[in-house]
């Protein structure tokens, strides 16, 4: 399924939605929209081979967790289409990017805009930290570092079955501080899992602030290569670079694309909040108003009327 819109338009649409949502709700994961907008737009609008959604455009409310007494349970993966052999799969490893991921689903016509109105509301499946029943999610990834391992297991299993579809994991750079990430790369390399793809939002930010101040991780491209992965580093706001990166040959190895990004790309006023960008909650009505005007201008929209 291909969208009629350009990927640039989708990325802009994602940022406008996350901006509007954050203004109305006095805060949100704004910086993640800045850094990851192109990556998620590119995945959904161009790169991923996905079937038509199998779940309703307006998400159903929370219908219970998996249990033997909940036989109708299903994940939110149906927003990415059916899990049939020919199609790609995508995990959003940093589940706190959910707001950005939901905005992406809306921009590529996989979820209705009403879905975002349900974000973080009691009884809703559109959860703040994407759960596996949330739109577009297939596994729980709220605990950082487990996404790539799960992707490796799924990709290995699909390769064994001769399925053509790839398994993609959208990752965040903070995850390289977790030992499990490296366990996953060495296992994927050892077992030649080359139908496993990751694109990592390298925005150098984490919850406490700049990664260099929290835990320096060094040259992660070289580290990934030393662990046996094919790894290529690009400007994460350059779609042409992204399109070229995925063509990198990686026989017998997983491919990891490091998308170097700017955490206030297209929302320059957010730099005022550096280095605490993980979750932007406005500190005052004045800040909220200034950011509203500034970001609206950056994104080419009217300021949000959040007074009611």
């Amino acid at each position: 399924m291909r969208n009629e819109r350009t990927t640039e338009e989708v990325a802009l649409g994602i940022r406008r939605r996350v901006f509007e949502h954050s203004m109305r709700n006095n805060g949100g994961y704004l910086s993640q929209a800045c850094s990851a907008g192109e990556q998620l737009a590119w995945l959904y609008n161009e790169e991923l081979k996905l079937g038509a959604p199998t779940l309703p455009m307006i998400p159903k409310p929370f219908e219970g967790v998996p249990s033997p007494s909940n036989p109708d349970y299903h994940t939110g993966a149906g927003y990415n289409g059916p899990a049939t052999p020919e199609f790609d799969r995508l995990f959003i490893a940093p589940a706190h990017y959910a707001l950005v991921a939901y905005a992406t689903l809306i921009e590529v016509d996989r979820m209705a805009p009403e879905g975002l109105e349900m974000f973080n509301k009691d009884g809703s499946s559109v959860e703040m930290i994407g759960a596996e029943h949330s739109p577009g999610m297939e596994v729980h990834n709220g605990t950082l570092g487990i996404g790539l391992s799960t992707g490796a297991g799924l990709a290995y299993g699909r390769k064994r079955r001769g399925e053509a579809g790839r398994t993609w994991v959208f990752m965040s750079d903070g995850e390289v501080q977790e030992g499990q990430t490296w366990e996953a790369v060495q296992a994927a390399t050892h077992h030649g899992i080359d139908n496993l793809y990751a694109i990592m939002d390298v925005n150098d930010q984490q919850c406490d602030g700049a990664m260099s101040s929290v835990m320096e991780v060094g040259d992660i491209k070289t580290k990934f290569q030393n662990f046996g992965a094919a790894c290529i580093e690009i400007d994460g706001h350059d779609l042409t670079a992204m399109r070229d990166a995925v063509k990198e040959k990686h026989d017998g190895k997983p491919l990891i694309i490091l998308a170097r990004t700017n955490p206030f790309h297209t929302m320059s006023i957010l730099e005022e909040r550096f280095p605490r960008l993980h979750y932007v909650r406005f500190k005052s009505e004045d800040e909220r108003a200034r950011m509203n005007v500034s970001i609206a201008a950056d994104l080419g929209v009217e300021p949000v009327d959040y007074s009611h």
Partner: protein
């Protein structure tokens, strides 16, 4: 004399799994220690070596489950839930993946000490939603554990015995049931795993002392048939005594206590097992004596329960198996 069966798991797993394309054998560098080295050599296409990296292994297994496989994970029990507990929870238990967790060296069955002895695993697993718990107590149960585990629509925790294992039973595990090994009406003894053999050793001495013992062996710990247990409790005059190769908090002693409390049963209960303590390294008979998990400890517990002294000594108990720490049937002394 009890029949001893050499490496029952090795044979059982191979005959169950070989040729089934949906079953994969996962190992974390303890392949021969978990008796699947022969399987690895003869069925390399179904074997996945995941190295000493259990966190990845658990999530990887979850991914395999998502792809429709039923992975059997082989390693020492402790290594499957202590370090990778988060992965066990998020990647396996929550999504109800059909992952079969074959935990070797339950409790004090290893001289490996604290780092190798899974003494609180049942407590942990009982509190995980969606988890099923099975425990083997003899060779026949080890021989039937794969089939029993693979019948579960979700994740399964199995306490598996390895090496030289006594044959006590002649019927396979029937998931959800319990074994009634004797049907007396004075005292109910509830045991699981290796402690069942201990209770059987005490049987004749207790009978000579005039006690009528009702003995239940549990191989299915979760889900649990409370009604069946309550019927048995109702059939004995005195109280209940449990004996387990596990801490008494959260294991079968707690399970019986909760069942009794929920039903308002007013009988006495004595729970034997590791009493809020770690164990240390040593032979199994030594550790069972030292920590009070053996036949003699059960006799003393029954004396406490009945308020009588039977004068039973070690000499009155059926002979203990003498097992070498270093044995050809084990890959290493662990």
């Amino acid at each position: 004399m009890v029949e001893m069966v050499s490496r029952p798991y090795a044979k059982a797993f191979e005959s169950f799994a070989a040729g089934n394309p949906d079953i994969l054998c996962l190992s974390a560098d303890l392949t021969s220690s978990c008796e699947v080295d022969g399987f690895r050599d003869r069925h390399p296409d179904q074997f996945i070596s995941l190295g000493m990296a259990e966190q990845n292994m658990m999530s990887f297994a979850g991914g395999l489950g998502l792809a429709g496989y039923r992975p059997f994970i082989h390693t020492f029990g402790v290594f499957m839930y202590r370090r990778p507990y988060d992965q066990l929870m998020a990647s396996i238990a929550y999504p109800r993946r059909k992952v079969r967790l074959m935990g070797f060296l339950p409790g004090i069955t290893t001289p490996g000490g604290m780092t190798h002895q899974s003494i609180e695993d049942i407590s942990v697993m009982r509190s995980i939603p969606n988890m099923t718990i099975l425990e083997t107590g003899d060779a026949t149960e080890v021989e039937s554990i794969c089939e029993a585990a693979d019948s579960i629509d979700g994740p399964v925790w199995c306490r598996v015995l390895r090496g030289s294992v006594p044959r006590l039973f002649d019927t396979p595990i029937k998931v959800g049931e319990m074994r009634e090994l004797s049907s007396g009406d004075d005292i109910l003894v509830v045991t699981s795993g290796i402690c069942t053999e201990e209770a059987m050793r005490a049987r004749s001495a207790l009978a000579k002392a005039g006690l009528s013992i009702r003995h239940l062996h549990l191989h299915t710990i979760k889900p649990f048939d409370s009604k069946a247990l309550l019927d048995h409790i109702g059939s004995v005059k005195h109280g209940v005594i449990t004996l387990e190769n596990h801490v008494t908090e959260g294991g079968i002693g707690s399970l019986v206590a909760e069942t009794m409390a929920d039903a308002g049963v007013g009988k006495r209960l004595i729970r034997l097992g590791l009493k809020d303590t770690y164990a240390h390294g040593g032979s199994r008979p030594y550790l069972m004596r030292y920590y009070g998990l053996d036949a003699l400890a059960l006799v003393r517990g029954i004396e406490d329960l009945t308020g009588q002294q039977f004068g039973i000594t070690e000499n009155d108990l059926d002979s203990a198996r003498v097992e070498d720490v270093h044995s050809l049937v084990k890959a290493e002394a662990l």
